[in-house]
């Protein structure tokens, strides 16, 4: 029996799988008829193939399905990062906007509102009305604003409750007293009213603690402008009653307003900061929870 060539082996293998063309199959059939060894080889290969095909399928020991919680695709890094950064930038923009808004409002309040307005919002409207009335009444009597270093009540005959105020402040207010009036009449604050504070006044403000200022401004009992025995004093003022003329309406110690507004500004800005950080944290938490459904 002649050994089988590699080419014949491939021919037999292809014939097992039915991969021969009709011509090739016919040629092989002729060879098998004449070559007994080739026929035996072909029969053995066919038997072996039958053994392999009859092998029972292998049973997997477990399932290989994937766990969606582990293998679920994650969101795109760029998309997630983009949303995350928008959240952070938005939070900072919110904080900045709120902070600037509060700063502007506070600046306007400091230049416009007297101490009573800052300390006692309920009396704010009444005091403003009172100031307007008094300015109308005193505009003819009082010297024009900025005329020298004269204090508000240029006429010494007028009762100067402002002097009591100055005693508390340990400093005599300067042209600010008369200077604020025109601005209030016009109904809009001017930066000049704030910037015209003499250095001596700011020194007095510095000597006065914030606690004193708050107590002075917040409590009518501590307000020297208010006569405790007089039921018509500003602290208990009925808004429809005429304003006492003997009081100096414009003797508002602006430094007190500043001393009180600074903590308020910080408070609001802190609230805005906390809100912004909370918003950013909430967005980050939401994104994380969205990643893991």
């Amino acid at each position: 029996m002649t050994p089988i060539s590699e080419q014949q082996q491939e021919l037999l293998s292809a014939a097992l799988d039915g991969q021969l063309s009709a011509a090739e199959q016919a040629q092989l059939d002729q060879q098998l008829e004449h070559d007994h060894g080739l026929a035996v080889e072909f029969a053995e290969l066919r038997s072996m193939q039958a053994l392999l095909q009859e092998l029972p399928p292998v049973r997997p020991p477990r399932s290989f399905t994937l766990d969606p919680a582990i293998h679920a695709p994650k969101r795109s890094f760029w998309l997630g990062g983009w949303i995350r950064w928008v959240g952070v930038v938005g939070a900072f923009a919110l904080m900045l906007t709120v902070g600037l808004q509060l700063t502007n409002q506070s600046g306007q309040s400091m230049t416009m509102a007297p101490v009573a307005d800052m300390a006692n919002p309920e009396a704010a409207n009444g005091v403003s009305d009172r100031m307007a009335i008094e300015n109308n009444n005193t505009s003819a009597e009082a010297p024009p604003m900025g005329s020298g270093s004269g204090s508000g009540p240029a006429d010494p005959s007028q009762p100067t409750t402002a002097e009591d105020t100055m005693a508390v402040l340990d400093q005599t207010p300067e042209p600010m007293v008369g200077g604020a009036a025109p601005a209030m009449i016009e109904g809009y604050p001017t930066p000049m009213a704030y910037s015209s504070i003499p250095i001596s006044d700011t020194a007095g403000m510095a000597r006065m603690s914030a606690e004193q200022a708050t107590a002075l401004a917040g409590s009518p009992l501590n307000n020297p402008l208010i006569d405790q025995n007089n039921p018509s004093s500003p602290g208990t003022l009925d808004l429809e009653q005429p304003v006492l003329k003997e009081q100096t309406p414009t003797a508002q110690p602006v430094p007190i307003a500043m001393a009180e507004s600074e903590p308020s500004l910080l408070l609001w800005f802190s609230i805005a900061l906390v809100l912004g950080v909370g918003l950013a944290s909430a967005m980050v938490y939401w994104l994380k929870s969205f990643k893991q459904p």
Partner: protein, 195 residues
């Protein structure tokens, strides 16, 4: 590919794990069977099968047209080659353990447990001999023989799964059959043909 298979592949490309699990259920027997016949060890075969499906899910967006089964078996075959190379480096051969009568014999893995005991023992011995004969083949020939004669894939699918030409598949298959035939014949496990 069937229409359902196409839909599952499409959904899996969009990240649908459940759709991919349908494909896993469809092919896990074949993938594990290939790995088991290639490696002769159930634990390694299970690891390869699991890694194959994880890798396939990660790379499924790169699957274009053609046979999904062939693409999956290509991943599995490459994973088997990696394991066999690692086993060679560690100088440990699970086939030796198999021939030494390890508990993890191929007969334990087969589904048909309903045969009579004597027939079951004969089959188990034959299957062990075939598995041992497969282990004597070169890896590339072994893979082709398993895919063609045991799993029934067409030549074209085998060529795609092994990333080779059709002629290479025919050549490897022919050599593998001749070698395994000689191995079984030498152990008198092959029916003798009339001469």
């Amino acid at each position: 590919m069937t229409d359902a298979e196409r839909q599952w592949v499409s959904a899996a490309k969009d990240g649908d794990v459940e759709a991919f699990n349908q494909l896993v259920r469809m092919y896990e027997g074949r993938v594990y069977g290939l790995a088991y016949r290639m490696l002769g060890d159930s634990d390694s075969a299970a690891d390869v099968a699991q890694d194959t499906f994880i890798s396939a899910f990660k790379a499924i967006k790169r699957f274009r047209e053609g046979s999904f089964a062939a693409w999956l078996l290509r991943i599995a075959t490459n994973a088997c080659y990696d394991v066999l190379r690692a086993q060679k480096r560690r100088r440990t051969t699970s086939m030796d353990q198999l021939l030494a009568g390890d508990d993890d014999s191929p007969g334990e893995q087969f589904e048909d447990q309903s045969l009579p005991l004597d027939q079951h023992m004969i089959n188990r011995e034959l299957q062990a001999a075939i598995q041992a004969g497969l282990a004597t083949l070169p890896e590339d020939q072994r893979a082709v023989l398993i895919m063609c004669d045991i799993q029934g894939f067409a030549y074209e699918e085998i060529a795609a799964a092994t990333d080779t030409q059709l002629g290479t598949v025919k050549s490897r298959l022919s050599r593998a059959r001749a070698k395994l035939r000689d191995y079984l014949k030498s152990r008198e496990l092959l029916p003798t043909a009339e001469r």
